[in-house]
């Protein structure tokens, strides 16, 4: 097991190195650089900058250098914990992103938990009571959740909250708690705000989970060991939960690593619409303004989370499913 983890860790580092190279290439793909987008935004307000000034800035920012030189400087900085500076905010990237990533992980982590809490019982029920009214209802509800775009659901929720309750849904905190330290009232305030985005994000993924779980469980339920267990007189709930459900969870656990990036990218528009201070809107803005070190750092950190998530799911799988063994031939 330890050997397996070490091997995985080495592979992880190599993957990350490759990701960093590709990420840096992608953020440089659009034409121009931060300064061209800066000039464009100034020009839109009728302002013009002397080309000499821009040349000067380009040199100060090191933007004129070849790709590999820029990449190497970036990578060397990261190895020392320096992700570079945001051009737009003239601040070290590390100062800007942690709070946002924290919010992202919090909101999207909650969304994952809620998603599982909704999907697991429904999935099990739908498999055990196949083709019952409940199964159909769950299926329809799940598919509606899947088919309605998240941002539209968010908009509808916001509109209903406005017309029915006269409140403006949005943000993660009330003004008085925005900059406060964590405390019980602040946690309460957070949940009072966060339930809406969490619900919106959770509905999108529930249907998929229900369907996967239902399909897996249906396969398992037909197997002889279930019949044997029943014949031996085990209580029905134990028959289902102890073995078939445990096995049906395998595919879900092996995709934990993908959940986070999927949620982050899927939540960009929801965050913009519902005004959530998460990493999504910052990534979006840094990409449009070509604030490349900021965008690069967010992409890289999301990749790190994905890779770590994959490692965790590998370890969990080994723990949960006794049939999976590593190292032995």
């Amino acid at each position: 097991m330890v050997q397996f983890i070490i091997r995985r860790l080495i592979a992880m580092l190599l993957t990350l190195f490759a990701i960093s190279f590709v990420a840096f290439a992608i953020i440089q793909l659009p034409p121009g650089d931060y300064l061209t987008s800066y000039i464009a935004s100034l020009a839109a307000t009728g302002d013009q900058v002397d080309p000499r000034v821009i040349e000067n800035l380009r040199a100060q920012y090191g933007l004129g250098e070849p790709y590999l030189v820029q990449y190497w400087k970036w990578l060397a900085g990261i190895l020392q914990g320096n992700f570079g500076s945001s051009f737009e905010w003239k601040r070290p990237v590390t100062e800007l992103i942690w709070g946002r990533l924290g919010n992202s992980i919090l909101v999207e982590g909650l969304a994952v938990i809620v998603m599982w809490f909704i999907a697991l019982p429904i999935g099990i029920y739908a498999a055990v009571r196949k083709y019952s009214l409940g199964d159909y209802l769950a299926t329809v509800a799940g598919f509606i959740g899947l088919a309605v775009p998240n941002f539209l659901f968010a908009l509808i929720l916001m509109y209903l909250a406005y017309t029915w309750f006269g409140t403006t849904l949005g943000g993660l905190f009330s003004p008085e708690f925005e900059t406060a330290r964590w405390s019980l009232p602040r946690i309460w305030d957070f949940f009072a705000h966060a339930w809406a985005p969490v619900l919106v994000l959770a509905t999108g993924g529930t249907a998929e989970l229900i369907r996967i779980l239902r399909a897996n469980l249906l396969d398992e339920l037909k197997k002889p060991y279930v019949v044997t267990a029943r014949a031996k007189g085990l209580p029905e709930w134990k028959v289902i939960l102890k073995y078939p459900v445990r096995l049906a969870l395998n595919p879900l656990i092996s995709t934990i690593g993908w959940l986070l990036p999927a949620l982050v990218s899927g939540s960009v528009i929801v965050s913009v619409v519902m005004n959530l201070p998460t990493a999504g809107p910052m990534l979006l803005r840094s990409l449009t303004t070509q604030d490349m070190y900021l965008a690069g750092a967010i992409i890289l950190l999301l990749s790190v989370l994905t890779v770590i998530g994959t490692l965790i799911s590998d370890i969990l799988l080994a723990l949960i499913d006794p049939r999976i063994r590593y190292g032995a031939k």
């Binding site: 659009p30 034409p31 121009g32 061209t36 987008s37 000039i39 464009a40 935004s41 020009a43 839109a44 307000t45 009728g46 302002d47 013009q48 900058v49 002397d50 080309p51 000499r52 000034v53 000067n56 800035l57 100060q60 945001s86 737009e88 905010w89 003239k90 601040r91 070290p92 800007l96 709070g99 946002r100 908009l155 916001m158 509109y159 406005y162 006269g166 409140t167 403006t168 849904l169 949005g170 943000g171 905190f173 003004p175 925005e178 900059t179 965050s271 913009v272 619409v273 519902m274 005004n275 959530l276 201070p277 999504g280 809107p281 910052m282 979006l284 803005r285 449009t288 303004t289 070509q290």
Partner: protein
């Protein structure tokens, strides 16, 4: 404590009564919070904080102190809202009708006959928000820093064709000297551009420059900046640069000072009154009336802001939320949200300006696009009424790119020529332009046998209605045998294509409908935004000599006239010369317009007083600031 306050108050009232007898411009009242600070000795008395001759700002009524003005920013980079709300404090300003230049930080000025020398006199005793005096030295410092190539700001101060040279005469008097006449200086300084010169305090900002502080480079490095120049930009950013509002230590001359700065993660930006603000109301009470500004920062979407406005959580706002689509929603929500709608007249003349590239690299296209018959033909093929009805729910009217009806330069013929929808007439003109043959798809052939297809660059992210308009135009033009293809691209690419000369046509809104003299981009090849004749504009202003091209005779004549405008110090003469330029524009018809930009609206809470029921909206005239929010108050 309560007693002290009481005596402080009666004392102030007594002084006010005495001073009011002496003249309206003398110190009378101040906000209760400041009163308390004065009483406790934390703040000098009002007389010492106000200048000898404070600027008197009149409102419809005398207000009361207090309250918070709530508004919203769209995304973190929305420095525009701040500029338009608090930062418009130049040496001079425009009056509320955008007609004349009136004193602001300068109490008077004089120009010599050929407009090469301007003498300014500052108000005596104006203080920065940290309480130190604002003097000629600060202006001289700003000129010096703007001219420093390491300080990345471009403005009229360091305009390389005619930069400002400053001569300081005494603490309050200084001269701007120019090598060439600069007749438009006062108009420029009264616009939003005027805030450049008053944006840097010498005492604070000089500490980051090696000329004044030999350790500047080392200190910058210690703070994690690779050069002193970057550190200087971070601490003392120019005029309205975003990060300027991220530094609460930077002294300013604004009515409100930053409390919660604009940083990448700020969910709101808040401001509190500047105790040293140098304006008073008609009774001599120190302004502003409103205690605080609260700008909520959205994550780049305006949905939450729209709902907040409907819910009565916004006190005054036009920016971002006042879209055409939202208008019925806001109209219906007036009673529930306890607000009403004010009128906002845009400065832009046109909803969409089609700019065909006169300097196209392909000689066939260049010749065709420069052919007036071709443009007239296209113009007649557009059914503008249909576009106004479909896209703008009937708001607006067919219009060319011309001064708006509210402008003194309005010329009905210029505004209305070639706007009638007449496909037969259109075909006649297109045939006169040499497009007589057609291919099998019904598309006319150019002189080289290629179909007449125009690829139009557009940024739909900026104005979604552009795509709607162009899609209708696509069908209308196809009916007369001209194909257009929409090329929806990113803003950066849009700008990159200009110097590369890699476009058939681009569209933009009709800037310059009210600010006709200052923004003549569509009337003649004036600046980089004159996309229809980009290379000719370079010939005129000399910023990119490597791609400049000699303009046609008529354009040269216009440029000559504009040069005369720049060198004239008489407003009447400038207006007369501008009319001559517009006469040539009318004759040449360089760009094609669609419809008059419809009026917008503002959300005004019902308890907000002195706020404008009608105002212009422009960038050069950065509303609502010229409407003096410092005299607005809550009832």
């Amino acid at each position: 404590m309560r007693k002290d306050q009481f005596f402080g108050l009666t004392g102030a009232v007594a002084i006010a009564a005495i001073l009011a007898a002496a003249g309206p411009a003398l110190a009378a009242g101040q906000a209760p919070a400041l009163e308390a600070l004065v009483a406790s000795g934390d703040l000098p008395p009002l007389e010492e904080r106000l200048p000898a001759n404070p600027l008197v700002v009149e409102g419809d009524s005398i207000g009361t102190y207090g309250g918070t003005w709530r508004m919203g920013m769209n995304g973190g980079g929305d420095n525009g809202l701040i500029v338009k709300t608090v930062a418009y404090e130049g040496l001079v300003r425009f009056d509320r009708d955008w007609q004349t230049v009136v004193p602001n930080l300068a109490e008077s000025w004089e120009a010599n006959a050929d407009a090469t020398e301007y003498t300014f006199k500052l108000r005596d005793g104006v203080k920065w928000s940290d309480g130190t005096p604002f003097t000629s030295a600060d202006i001289a410092f700003a000129v010096e820093i703007y001219k420093d190539p390491d300080y990345p700001a471009g403005s009229w101060i360091d305009n390389k064709n005619n930069p400002v040279n400053i001569e300081v005469i005494d603490e309050l008097t200084f001269k701007f000297k120019f090598d060439k006449p600069n007749g438009m200086l006062m108009d420029q300084m009264a616009s939003v551009d005027g805030i450049h010169i008053t944006s840097l305090q010498k005492a604070y900002c000089s500490q980051f420059h090696p000329t004044y502080n030999e350790n500047a480079a080392a200190e910058a490095e210690a703070k994690g900046f690779s050069s002193w120049a970057l550190y200087l930009q971070d601490r003392c950013a120019w005029g309205w640069e975003t990060i300027r509002f991220a530094n609460p230590d930077l002294p300013t001359l604004y009515g409100w000072v930053i409390e919660t700065p604009l940083t990448a993660n700020a969910s709101r930006v808040t401001w509190t009154r500047n105790p040293y603000y140098w304006k008073v109301d008609a009774e001599g009470n120190q302004l502003p009336y409103i205690d605080n500004l609260d700008m909520r920062v959205s994550q780049g979407g305006v949905e939450e802001l729209t709902l907040a406005a409907l819910n009565g959580e916004i006190d005054f706002q036009e920016r971002h939320i006042a879209t055409n689509v939202n208008k019925p929603l806001f109209f219906d929500g007036q009673e529930a949200g306890d607000y009403h709608l004010g009128e906002v007249i845009p400065s832009a003349s046109n909803t969409l300006v089609l700019q065909l590239n006169f300097n196209h690299d392909d000689p066939v296209k260049r010749e065709l696009y420069q052919n007036k018959d071709f443009r007239v033909g296209i113009s007649h093929a557009i059914d503008r009424e249909e576009i106004v009805d479909v896209v703008f729910t009937g708001q607006g009217e067919p219009f060319q790119v011309a001064p708006r009806p509210q402008s003194p330069f309005y010329d009905e013929e210029l505004a209305k020529q070639y706007t009638e929808f007449d496909p037969d007439l259109a075909i006649e003109h297109l045939e006169a332009a040499g497009l007589t043959e057609m291919n099998g798809d019904g598309i006319r052939l150019m002189s080289n046998g290629e179909p007449a297809k125009i690829t139009i660059d557009v940024i739909s992210a900026l104005r979604p209605e552009w795509i709607d308009i162009l899609e209708i135009m696509q069908l209308q033009l196809a009916a007369v045998g001209v194909e257009i293809e929409l090329n929806n691209i990113d803003r950066t690419l849009f700008y990159e294509k200009r110097p590369g000369n890699d476009f058939d046509a681009q569209v933009w809104a009709g800037d310059g409908g009210l600010e006709v003299v200052q923004e003549p981009r569509y009337y003649f090849p004036a600046n980089d935004e004159s996309v229809w004749a980009y290379k000719w504009a370079q010939w005129f202003n000399g910023t990119r000599p490597e791609i400049a091209e000699e303009p046609a005779e008529w354009a040269k004549e216009q440029m000559e006239l504009y040069t005369q405008i720049r060198s004239s110090s008489s407003p009447e003469e400038r207006a007369d010369l501008m009319k001559q330029i517009l006469a040539i524009t009318k004759e040449q018809f360089p760009v094609i317009g669609v419809s008059l930009m419809p009026n917008s609206y503002s959300i005004i809470r019902n308890n907000l007083r002195n706020a404008p029921e009608s105002m212009f909206n422009a960038w050069l005239f950065p509303t609502p600031s010229p409407m003096d929010p410092v005299v607005w108050y809550f009832e």
